[in-house]
Structures are given as structure tokens and as C-alpha cells.
């Protein structure tokens, strides 16, 4: 075989190029996730759930059993599955809209019940799939399709601090962190620790990944990186927030 792309083994090459837009952050997160699945050698017992949101474009992304669910409902589907089969490593993958808006009751209650599942959330500060509406994570002043004059925090509050909320509601066995596609190596480390937390049956795991959406941000490559590394970083602090029995990296 000639030289081939360095895709994670758990990526399904038959479905590549994948369905995400050019320059999207989702596949970067999924690359980190795929490498972790490879390294932990758990493709046979992992179930990957993807939400409605651009995450659904990953419904045939992995060589891993995958369930594409409803908008905001990936967490309960994966929780229900994990409750029924404790051998499963359940990963619920979703966007900021799916996790912090329509699915927030599932996120906070799964965290509160210390469900042994891993919720991985791509924060791209808006609703990507539906064409760029305001999300709970939209930055102050950011223009979106439903905040055409810029998000007014007087009217709609400040950007949601998701991991901080999850940390506040979860028990001491939860792993909570925020990574970024601007630092994929660190993100991968967080994802690995998160999966280990559920693999070892210790507790809930949550990682928010700051992501990219050049399509709806209407940014070129330069501004795409700038938005995630400068603008988003101002509001969303990258690092570990809760690490069971360990010092955080942050």
C-alpha cells in the first residue's frame, strides 16, 4: 500500500472525506477522540452517540458503533445504554446548542447523578447546522443570525460557562475540563482522562472543546484561528476544572 493519510485507526476511511465543512473544528475534536480510542483499544466496546447539530455529520464517521439521536438527546440515549450494559463505554458528542440549551436538563442531571458516561461538547459559539443562530455561548457583541446587531448581554446574558456549571452540579468523582482545537495535544489528553474516568467506573466525565465554524463565523483561516484563540479564549478559560483526586492542569 502506498503512503496513506495518518487517520486514526478508528476513523472509517470509507466515509472520508467526511461531511464537515472545510476548516470545521468538529473533525479536529474527532481526530483527538479517534486517537484516544485507538490508544485505549476500546473500539469494540465504545458506543459513540452524536446529536443533531453538525455532530450528526459524524453518524458514519467512526469504525465504532454509532447512534445518531435527537437534538439535545444524545446524553440520555447514551446514559440509558450504559445503564443497561455497564461494559459499554458511552460517549455523547454534541454541540453547545445541544448541550447547553435544549439538552441542558440532561447534561446537568446526568452530571448530578454521576452517570458513568463521557459527554464531549464542541463549543463553536453558535448553532452551526441551522445556519448560525445565537447560542448560549455566543460572545458579547457577536453577530449571529438571531443577534444580527451583536449579542446584547443586557438582554440575553453573558456566554454560558458550561464546564463550570457541570463542575458545580457534579459530585467529586466527576472529571471536567475545557480544551480547545487550538491545542489539540492538550485536548487529547483531557479526552483521554475523561474516558479513563468512565472506563474505570469512577464517575461522570465532561469535556468542552472550543471549536471552529468558519462557515457561520464567515472567517478566513487566519480569522478562524484568531476567533478561537483570542476572542473565545477571553471568555472561556481552557484547562482542567475538576479532576478526581488529582491536581488540575489549567
Amino acid at each position: 500500500m502506498s503512503v496513506q493519510p495518518q487517520m486514526p485507526k478508528s476513523w472509517r476511511s470509507e466515509t472520508k472525506p467526511h461531511k464537515f465543512c472545510p476548516g470545521c473544528g468538529h473533525p479536529l475534536i474527532l481526530k483527538a477522540l479517534g486517537e484516544v480510542i485507538d490508544e485505549l483499544n476500546i473500539a469494540d466496546r465504545t458506543v459513540f452517540g452524536c446529536d443533531i447539530g453538525c455532530s450528526l455529520l459524524a453518524w458514519d464517521f467512526f469504525n465504532v458503533d454509532t447512534i445518531q439521536t435527537h437534538h439535545g438527546r444524545t446524553t440520555p440515549v447514551i446514559v440509558g445504554l450504559r445503564r443497561a450494559n455497564e461494559n459499554v463505554i458511552g460517549i455523547a458528542y454534541m454541540g453547545d446548542g445541544g448541550g447547553y440549551a435544549i439538552g441542558s436538563q440532561h447534561l446537568v442531571n446526568s452530571a448530578a447523578r454521576d452517570e458513568k458516561v463521557f459527554v464531549l461538547l464542541a463549543n463553536n459559539t453558535q448553532y452551526g447546522m441551522t445556519g448560525g443562530q445565537m447560542a448560549p455561548t455566543t460572545l458579547p457583541g457577536q453577530k449571529t443570525e438571531t443577534s444580527p446587531y451583536g449579542r446584547d448581554t443586557e438582554l440575553t446574558g453573558p456566554p454560558v460557562q458550561g464546564p463550570e456549571m457541570v463542575a458545580a452540579i457534579s459530585g467529586e468523582n466527576a472529571y471536567v475540563a475545557r480544551g480547545t482545537v487550538g491545542n489539540v495535544r492538550q485536548l487529547k489528553k483531557f479526552i483521554k482522562k475523561a474516558i479513563q474516568n468512565v472506563m474505570e467506573g469512577r464517575g461522570f466525565a465532561f469535556v468542552e472543546a472550543l471549536s471552529l465554524c468558519p462557515t457561520n463565523w464567515r472567517t478566513n483561516a487566519e480569522d478562524t484561528w484568531k476567533f478561537v484563540e483570542k476572542d473565545m479564549a477571553t471568555y472561556f478559560k481552557v484547562g482542567e476544572i475538576k479532576v478526581p483526586g488529582e491536581k488540575k492542569e489549567g
Binding site: 455529520l57 462557515t215 457561520n216
Partner: protein
């Protein structure tokens, strides 16, 4: 009743088929005709083939989509494959002659299959950016659904703000329109 014209335009995300559909129907509307334009759309923001369904008629238009078009225009290999389903023996099928490896996939039963040198003309004579306007010119040339004048007005109203900043752009677009109308005559 004068039977209206049904047009399906398809291309890659960046090729501007939706703009063509929009300008065509705006022009028809401005001429007092009935026009209906509906884009296809799926879950992906980008990546799928972009299709525009256009109908122009003297009377109120019926269903927004149709089984088979009078004219199909396909601007990429994927677009060719996607749109043969809209062809029957009445259909005029246009595709760009720059597209490779689609001979197999061209419609077998349609009235006429025409390779348009739109990309070439745009690239060589004008600017790759106005490729879609060349295509629009070709459609107008082939059907006469709208007049050149109204098409120009519609272009003006859609892109006027850009023309203001750069009047050369206006020239280039109008030229593209004309060249499109010409080349379709040449190849048909």
C-alpha cells in the same frame, strides 16, 4: 396557456447556482411574469451539491418542484450525476465542457446534451468569478425566459453595491451575460 419553463441548476457550493436562480427569477418577476425558485437543501451547511429549481411562466405556478426540467444545467461532475434524474426526452442538458470523466453519466435520453465552454470563457476572457453569469447568459440565450435588459437590471439590483465600488465589475458581469448568450448559440 403558454407552457412555462422549468430549469434545474446544479453545482458545487461555491459555484453560485443559487445566485443565478435568484437573478433569473428576479428578472422574470420584474418583467411581470410569475416566477418560483426553490433551492434544495439538506442537513449539511456545505458539501452537498447545490440545486436550484426555477420555474417561470405567464400564469401562477403550480407545485414548487417538478419531475423533469426543460433545461438542466450541471456545473460539476457530482452535479451531473445528481441531476440526470430531472431529465426526460424533452430536456435540454447543459454541462460545462471542463468537467472530466462524466461521459458515462450524461443523460442518455434527453433531447440534447450540450457541453458549454463556460468555465473556459470566464477564465480566459473575463474572470473565473463571473463563471455563473456566463451560465446564466447561456440559459437566457437558450430559453429567452427573460430579456437581456431585465437580466442586467436584476444583476444591478443584486450586485449594485459592489458595482458602485468597482464599475469594472459591472462591465465584466454584463459582458459575461452577453458571452453566455452567445456561446449557447454557438454550441447548439
Amino acid at each position: 396557456m403558454a407552457k412555462g419553463v422549468k430549469i434545474a441548476l446544479a453545482g458545487e457550493g461555491g459555484q453560485g447556482v443559487q445566485s443565478v436562480a435568484m437573478i433569473l427569477t428576479e428578472a422574470a418577476y420584474a418583467m411581470g411574469k410569475e416566477a418560483l425558485y426553490i433551492p434544495n437543501f439538506g442537513v449539511e451547511q456545505r458539501g452537498g451539491v447545490s440545486v436550484a429549481f426555477v420555474q417561470i411562466d405567464d400564469e401562477k405556478i403550480g407545485s414548487p418542484k417538478f419531475k423533469t426540467a426543460d433545461i438542466v444545467v450541471a456545473l460539476s461532475d457530482r452535479a451531473v450525476r445528481r441531476t440526470t434524474m430531472y431529465c426526460d426526452q424533452e430536456t435540454l442538458f447543459f454541462y460545462d465542457d471542463n468537467i472530466e470523466d462524466v461521459e458515462e453519466d450524461l443523460p442518455k435520453n434527453s433531447k440534447k446534451v450540450v457541453a458549454l465552454p463556460a468555465i473556459k470563457v470566464a477564465k480566459e476572457e473575463l474572470h473565473p468569478r463571473v463563471f455563473n453569469v456566463v451560465v446564466m447568459g447561456a440559459v437566457i440565450g437558450a430559453t429567452g425566459v427573460v430579456t437581456e435588459e431585465k437580466a442586467k437590471e436584476a444583476l444591478e439590483s443584486k450586485l449594485g453595491y459592489k458595482f458602485e465600488q468597482n464599475p469594472e465589475l459591472r462591465e465584466m458581469n454584463f459582458k459575461a451575460l452577453q458571452r453566455g448568450m452567445e456561446i449557447v448559440k454557438e454550441v447548439m
